[in-house]
Each structure stands twice: as C-alpha cells, then as structure tokens.
Subunit: 210 residues, 4 copies
DNA sequence: CATGAATGAGGCTTCATTCAT
DNA sequence: TATGAATGAAGCCTCATTCAT
C-alpha cells in the first residue's frame, strides 16, 4: 500500500520532516494538513504525533534546524581582516555566493524560512523572522568593522545600511529562486554566481558604479 | 433580536472591507475567520455574504483596490526628462519618498499586499504578487531610460539591477514599518524621508559612496 | 437592470408562479432558492413574499392550481354510457389521449406534480400525491361501472386493477415525456396518440391481445 | 466526553449506511442532515466523513449497493426456454413475485431507489434512474424473445410495451408498499403474491381477460 | 406594491488531535 | 513504535424570511 521499504526508525522523523517541509513549501503551512503529510509519507496519523507533539512543533523543528544550517554558512563570512575595499568586496562576494548557493540547494527550506512562514501562526512566523534578524545582525557587524577599518565613509548610518542590504539580498533570493509569483517550481535563469556578484557590486558601488 | 438594521447602507461594504483588511493584516488571511470580521463589524454572518461572494473574493477586492491606489502613486515617478545623475537621484528620492509615505499611511494594506498575501491561497497570493511585478517593471523602465540618456554605465544588467533595487525597497519597507517580526503594531523609529534618502543613496552610490 | 417591461401588477403573481414552476421542475424544490426565482423574474426578494407567505406556499399554490386543471381534463372521461367493450376502449383511448396531451403541454407542472414533488417537504408532497389518488379513484369508478354493465369479468379485483392501470399510465407519462433520467429537456420520440393507444390496448387486452 | 470508541470497527460503515438509508427513505435526501444521521448512529460528525467522502457519496454508495442486489434478483428471470404462453406467464409471475418480495423486504432501499432519489441531486438521481432503465431493458429482452418464439403477436411494439409494463410494475410497487402518499410507514393490505399475480395477469391479458 | 439590506439558523466539510489496540 | 478509527470544534457558506423605507 505504501511505497517505502523498511524505513529505519531513526530515519522516520527525518522522512516526516522532509515531507512536511516540501508540503509547507508547496502549499503553505495552513493549507498543509497533517493527513496530507502522513499520506505522502506512507504512515498513519498517529505516527506523526509520535514524533511531533503537534503540527506546529513540526514546523518549528524544521525552521530551527534550517536556521542553524543557514547561519552556519553565513557565519563563515568576513572572518579575515580585510585591508582594502577590494578585499572586502571579494569577501562579501564570497559570502553572498555561499548564501545564494545554499538557498539554491535548499529551496523548500528557503521558501518556508523567508516567505511562507509569514502565513503561519505567530510562533512559527517568529522563528522564521529570527533568521532574518540574524542575517541583518551579521551584516551590521561586518559594516561596523569595515567602518572602523576606515574602509567605509564615517558618516553612514550602519543600521539603516545593513537593513537595506539585508533586504536586498533576501528579497532578491526570493525572486531569483521562485520568480515573481513565489512559485516553488520556478527555475532561475541566472546563475548563483552572477546574482551574488551583482548584489555585491550594487551594495558596494550602487547603480552608478558599474 | 438584532439591534441594528440598515444603519449606513452605502458604507457597509467599506466598513467590512476595512475590518477585514485590518484582521487580515493582523492575523493573516487564513487565521481570520469570516465570523471574526462580522463580529468586529457588528453585523451578522449573512451580511458579509451580501457584499462579497466569498471570503476569498473579499481579499481579492481589497488587494485589487489597494494595488490600484499604490500604482497610482508609483506611476507618477520619473515623469521628467532628467539630464544629470543628480537630477535622477532627486527624482528617485522623491519617488521612494512617496512610496514610503504611502506605505506608512496604509500599513494594513501594505502588509497584506507585500507580505501576508503570501500565506493566502493562490489567487490572492497571485494578485498580491502582481503588485511586486508592477513595481519591478516600472523600476526597470526607469533604469533603461536612464541608460539611454547616458546617465548610467552601459554594461550594467538592467534586469538584475531592477530586481535588486525593487527587493531592497520593498523589503526595507517591510522591516522599517513592521520591524523584524513583521508586527503590525511596530512603530518605525526612522522617518520616511530618511529611509527614502538612504535607499536612494545606496541604490545610486552603494555603501562606499557616502 | 431587469428585463421585463412594465409587468401589470395582476400578472406579477402569475409570472412568479411560472418562473417558480419552471425552476422547481428543472432543479427540484429544495435546490431552487427563492433568490433564484426572483432573479429570473427580475424582482426583489421582498416582492416574492408579498405574493406568497413562504416558498412552500408558492409550491402548494402551483400544485393546487395544476391539480385543478388536470382533474378538469380527466373528469371529462367516461361520461357516456358505453354499451360494448369496443366503445369503452374508445372512450378510454380518448381519455388517455387527453391526459397524455395535457401532460405534453404542461411539462413543468407534470414533472412537479408526478415526480419532483416527491423530493419536497411533506405538505407539498402530500398535495402532489392527491393528484395521483384522484386519478386512481376516477379509474376505479370507471372500472366498477363497466363491470356493472357486464363489460368486464365479474371476478376481477377492481381496486387492484385501477392501481395497476393508474400506475402504468402515470409512470409511462413520466418516462415518455422525460426519458429514463427524468430530464426536463428530454424530447419524446413517440406521439401522444400512439402512447395513449398503446396504453389503452395494453390495459384492455394485455400483451397477448395485439 | 465521548462514551464510545472503536466499538465495532468493521460494522461501523454498515451501521452508518443503514441509518442514512432509513433517514433518506423517511425524509428524503435533502431533508436528511449528516448531523441527523450521526446523531441516530451515536457517533460524531467526523466519523461520518471517515467512511464517506461526502453526504452525496454515501447516498451513491447506498444506491449502487442496492441496485446490485436488486438486479441480482431480477436477472434470475426468464432463464428457461418457455414453449407456451402459459409457461411464460408462470415465469413472469415468479419474476414479479420475486421483485415484489424483494421490495417488501427492502422498503427503505426501494423508496430511495425508485422514488426519493428523484428529489436528490443529479448524480444520485441518475444512479437511481439506472435501476429503472435496467429493469426496462430486461423486460424488453424478455418480450423480444417471447415474440421470436411466436408466443406473442408479431405486430406489437416491444419497446413501448416494455415501458408500459415496467412502469406498471414499478409504480405499483410504490403505491402498494407505501400507499398513495408514499408513506414509509404504510402497511400493504395485499400480499406480494396477490399483487404479482394481478400484475402478471393484467400485463398478459388486460382487464378484459379475467 | 416594491426594494434590498439584514438576519441567523443550520448545513456540509475539514482537520488537529487523541487513544485503545 | 505504529495504526487508524474516532472526536469535536470550527470554518465557510446558503437561504428562507423579515422589515424599514
């Protein structure tokens, strides 16, 4: 009846997590019923509740896990002590590239984390938002340090800048990966590398600097 | 049994629209029940269905109306033939300012249009997405014209630039107005003017250009 | 907005009756909403309730009116004093013919009276049933008189016979006029005359008597 | 809160089917609410939807099952190669008797299948109609064979005859079992045997042949 | 006579969750 | 661990009916 063969019990939770994530990503949190998830996973309703206390908890679990992975990637940024703007641009470029690549390889997670979590209930939504905040914080730290190193003008408002840049990057990931309609099946027509470079360049030099 | 009948007649639909919008904005489309809306509006459940064929139609109506209003504001941008980068920056600044101001004055609409529509069903979400697309299109048109006027470097990829800038602006509006948690009750701590200027500056000159 | 031109007030009730009948016939009593009726009639909800106390009353009114008309036709039967079986067959033939013709000319009424009334509420259904009973009674009277005149065998059970014949005729009208699926738009492929003759013949001589 | 859980398991669907059928038969499809059914069955509303996808599906299920049972009975008819009219009459008599007996033992099903299905929605009504069609087809087949065997006049219109006879039988079952008002609680005052014989006789020899 | 906005009960269905097995 | 039947609270929507104008 069910298609899976002898799923090891340890893998069961991961399987449910994967299925749930893909359905959350495809249809949104509210429109995804636990019954849909277990149907696709080939297990019974009760099993779901053996691994998760509730539907909400499953989403929270997914988001927390994803957030951890994402931040791991992002925290590798700016670890060197740059000395020139060019070096800093290079580092930023690399960071963006890692971000875009991670996003490309974790589409489902990304859409839930950055977008679809919005439609969910407050706790879920909050968890998703924290990802954003974390990214913004990192960005701000980096800008501050750069300014201390005299790599950037002293009169800039670092807080606003980091907000602007973070939103640019995150929003761009959304429309790049999922198109204008946030369609999970959209196929990007530009490479992660190109996007990362463009974003870094715009952030550093603006549209006039090309 | 009922305490109010035919109190306002013509304004009833607007009242329901307002209440629905504020609840969609506060709790999201799915979590808002028609029964919640009518309760706050002080009318019976049936009355809602006198004015709207369905809950979905009411959201669509709100979005379509809002989209029209917003685009009206945005289409006023770049109507002059700029001759220098400085003039163009000024125009952009003004456009962003109008946008940020409109957003500030239409918080509920904004959160639905730009964000919360995401969690809703496809038709609603699609309608909301069109707003984004319209903004991006306008941005792209403007950049193209500027390039033709030799105000911008010829080697830039206009399509990507407009995506980046649009996402920066829209994303920034979100976090400026609603904070990192997209809280409808968040109070911005920076003026619309400052945000608009910052965004325009970043877009034109990047972080290095301050 | 509405398509009718200056309906005289006296005709209004008839108009509503007609529209209601056609919708009851097409969709059945329960599936027909008062709002459907008034929409097609081009009047407001309130108007309906000026002419009828309730939806049920409107159906009752239609049925009573129709019943009266139908029975008027049927009561013309067997008014002569037949002397032979052939004469009686002729008379029966004529009666059936009148019945089938009336049915053909009053499709909507017929389907409500004989069939669709069944799905309605008890009072309506009861009213419709009375038509059946009236027909059966008439049939029984006729058979009894024929037996008294020695036109028929003395050992027959008149009550059962009239039930059988009435059911044959009424059921046949249904399937003749509306086809096996009781489709109001079905077109009969046999003439009323042929049907009437066949029914009369079968009733008199059975399948062996052709 | 709830007093019964998993009491019978396998028989739950049958129980729901039985209750639903009896209520459909008593009050008609539209007037029967799912809430009525589950109340009588002593289960929760949700349980109904565990066994049936919808109210409509439950009616369809009942009808399909009933149709199968009924046709099983009817298809036993005329299996022998009759040689004389008398033998054929005997066979017909037996068939009618089986039909009347089945009807008597399945009152609820019968009223839904032959009558009350009419008031329901199209799919249900269609399913019920097919029963009628099946019976008529069988009747026609039998008549045709009899004519080929020279047991019946060659000039008869078999199609019309079978329509007439089928309607007679079915209509008669209705009024015999449920009385003129189609009352589910009506008690027949004539035996199935007597009815079957009368119907067969009338069909074969007409009212004159007694 | 006529309108049409308003009511509110009630119907069908979904779904997160529980729990005996 | 796993099942799947069962629960019951909502949710969306329909519709007969009322009534101020």
């Amino acid at each position: 009846m069910s298609s899976q063969r002898k799923i090891e019990t340890v893998e069961r939770k991961q399987q449910l997590t994967d299925v749930a994530l893909s359905q959350f990503a495809l249809n949104g949190y509210h429109k995804t019923a636990v019954s849909d998830v277990v149907k696709e996973a080939g297990v019974s309703q009760g099993t779901f509740y053996w691994y998760f206390r509730s539907k909400e908890e499953s989403a929270l679990y997914i988001i927390e896990e994803g957030k951890r992975e994402l931040l791991k990637v992002l925290e590798q940024g700016y670890r060197n002590e740059e000395a020139t703007v060019e070096e800093m641009l290079l580092e930023t470029n690399r960071l963006f590239y890692d971000f875009f690549t991670f996003a490309e390889e974790n589409r489902n997670l990304m859409i839930l984390l950055l977008i679809k979590g919005v439609g969910a209930d407050t706790p879920i939504h909050k968890a998703a938002s924290e990802t954003f905040t974390a990214i913004e914080k990192a960005s701000q730290r980096n800008l501050e340090r750069a300014r201390e190193l005299n790599l950037l003008p002293q009169n800039m408002d670092v807080s606003i800048q980091s907000t602007l840049i973070t939103n640019m990057v995150i929003g761009t990931i959304s429309s790049w990966l999922f198109g204008p309609n946030l369609d999970i099946n959209y196929k990007p027509d530009v490479s992660a590398e190109k996007m990362a470079t463009s974003a870094a360049m715009l952030g550093f030099y603006g549209i006039t600097g090309y």
